[in-house]
């Protein structure tokens, strides 16, 4: 069993937890993920590692309450245990040779972008971060990004905080003004990552995207997380769990990925409502 050492609410629907998992804490690198089950009959869900403390033997996760399982997870209190916690899975974000990087995070994706930005900062790279949210009340991790970024843009869709507009606005502006990066790394909703790729394309700057497909085992066994890359005109099937989750943004078929992620939408909505009702009854 894996103990919840600390729990903190970052906003109304996003929670941060530190989980006791020494083996994972020893190994996990930015960009990798874990799979957990809340309880004995629980579903396996992948969550990206938001940080580690090898000395304490803990792994930080940040999750948004979007369905039945994350709702149940959010009902676990500090000191309680999770049934299963396995990792680190996937390939770590590559950092070699990158001296100047732009990190673009959207919504809860910022939780995954944060350790990547911190890692580049630690390695001495110049870090520009753009973080975007729908509005001020769901803003997370601003201080953390401030601490590890040479330049930080905070964007809100409704203009309630920072600059008005989405994350591509400052990116486009910078690129138009002749700013350049060794790499752009973007993590967030698929549609946002698709537009970041489109924004960067005219400037030929490499873009790495972090994919979050539906997954079960996470070890390269089931193939549920597959996605299609277009490599030199050829369609190639890759598995996010062992080949990713990072991929070359120019190669990813985003439309297909978006469609596949909606496969169980009705089921998930139903499961979420069920879980909510259950907790309401208990309360």
């Amino acid at each position: 069993m894996y103990k919840i050492v600390s729990k903190k609410s970052l906003n109304a629907t996003v929670t941060q937890m530190e989980i006791e998992a020494p083996l994972v804490a020893n190994k996990a690198k930015p960009g990798q993920f874990i799979i957990l089950r809340v309880d004995e009959e629980g579903e396996r869900i992948p969550l990206t590692v938001a940080g580690t403390d090898p000395e304490k033997g803990t792994v930080k996760i940040i999750f948004q309450i979007v369905g039945g399982t994350t709702e149940k997870l959010n009902h676990k209190a500090e000191g309680e245990c999770l049934q299963d916690f396995v990792g680190p899975l996937g390939v770590a974000t590559h950092t070699e040779g990158i001296k100047k990087v732009c990190i673009v995070g959207g919504g809860v994706g910022c939780a995954i972008a944060m350790p990547v930005a911190q890692e580049f900062h630690r390695l001495g790279a110049n870090v520009t971060s753009i973080i975007g949210f729908r509005s001020k009340d769901i803003l997370i991790l601003e201080d953390e990004f401030k601490a590890c970024s040479d330049k930080l843009y905070v964007m809100t869709d409704d203009g309630s905080y920072g600059q008005h507009g989405n994350v591509t606005v400052p990116l486009k502006e910078m690129l138009e003004n002749g700013e350049t990066f060794d790499e752009i790394i973007t993590i967030g909703p698929l549609i946002m990552m698709k537009f970041v790729v489109a924004t960067a394309k005219p400037y030929n700057i490499p873009v790495t995207v972090s994919m979050n497909p539906i997954m079960i085992d996470g070890t390269g066994m089931c193939g549920g997380c597959r996605l299609t890359l277009n490599q030199d005109g050829k369609k190639v099937t890759k598995f996010a769990c062992v080949d990713g989750p990072d991929f070359n943004g120019y190669e990813v078929d985003f439309d297909e990925a978006m469609s596949r992620n909606r496969m169980y939408m009705d089921f998930e909505r139903h499961a979420y409502e069920e879980a909510c009702n259950l907790f309401k009854k208990e309360a």
Partner: protein, 469 residues
Amino acid sequence: MAIIPNKHEMPTQEPSVRAHNFSEVALGYTAEIAVEEAQRCLNCKNQPCVSGCPVNIHIPEFIAQVKEGNFEEAYKIISTTSSLPAVCGRVCPQESQCESKCTLGIKFEPVGIGRLERFVADYHNENNKEQPPVPAPNGHKVAIVGSGPSGLTCAGDLAKKGYKVTVYEALHTAGGVLVYGIPEFRLPKKIVAKEVETLKALGVDVETNVVIGKTLTIDELFEMGYEAVFVGSGAGLPRFMNIPGEAYKGVYSANEFLTRSNLMKAYKEDPVTPIMKGGKVAVVGGGNVAMDAARTALRLGAEKVYIVYRRSMEELPARKEEVEHAKEEGIDFRLLNNPVEILGYNNPDDPRDPKNGFVTGIKCVKMELGEPDASGRRRPVEIKGSEFVLDVDAVIMSIGTSPNPLIKNTTKGLDVNDHGGIIVNEDGLTSRDAVYAGGDAVTGAATVISAMGAGKLAAKSIDEYLSKR
């Protein structure tokens, strides 16, 4: 006494009933039937059946005990060579192994060795309350990667010799393919759990949620004090056909479909893990896994399930018994049909139409058999212009797997072949000192019993290697 020409029939659930439930299809012999079936054994001196068994169970000896009604004695004889009798009695292809060598089989039906094995194991599991004695420790530590049939067998054999064995499992439940792959109606999960408990009682530690190659590497296992490692990590990434449409929603690999149903219990009412239920389903492939997927889809409520296979019934690799069961349950075999495209729904007027991107059909081409190919099976050849569409809502690809790269990529000096399978010598030893391997990780997708045979061989080699140290 006249010889009874046929095996005593296996009591089974009625096809029309079992097609709608996940309870075990074959119900098992009663004690009376088992004794009668055991009396068919000729107790041949040269024991041809034993040579047909990958783990060399002392078959005539255990059957002789069944004949006398000494079922516990029979169990003891089986368990000296097999760590998983209740599993083997259910899923081994006996017809091509022990039973294929049975002398009785020359003129009549062979002795139902598998059915007797199952009976003996079930009898023991139900009636025996004694724990096996824990062997005296010999001071050596061995790590096993993977808790599937090869790993559990290797662990059991070593534990019986006094080794301190730890089994590392990536998933949250021990059993490997016995848990995620083979469905409840063919191998109830409580039987697998019982076999794992038996090993634990022998002193075997099972660590779930550890992915070797990620959480720990093989080199770290040696640093932790293990003196030998057995890699039984199983088959890996599912293969797809690389035809258009495989990314549509409703296209599963058999591994995914079965894992959702078996490991994640999506077959239960109100599951937490979703799976597509109902509709029409095409399963592509003709192996045991394809049969499992088809029969699972049927039990999940499919109104129609097709097996789409590019060769004929003669070449179909699944066990005959499984094919018969599938047919009885109403699975529709579309043989000499090869998929060329999967069709999906796309509403050009409404990109937000919720049906967009879901499977609507599978386009196949008819095949005929040509000359034999490298595998010795007649090569299927397309009949030009014979394309047709089967209307389906889901497609399950069951055409094999390619080895998992996690261990290869993190273990220096571990040689693999062109297909990615780990290379071993005749003792099960890899290119790395003290690292042994077996099962699907070596051979690619094969059977439970051949994996067990490999686990057994590796245990013997590890014992020889470590007892010299």
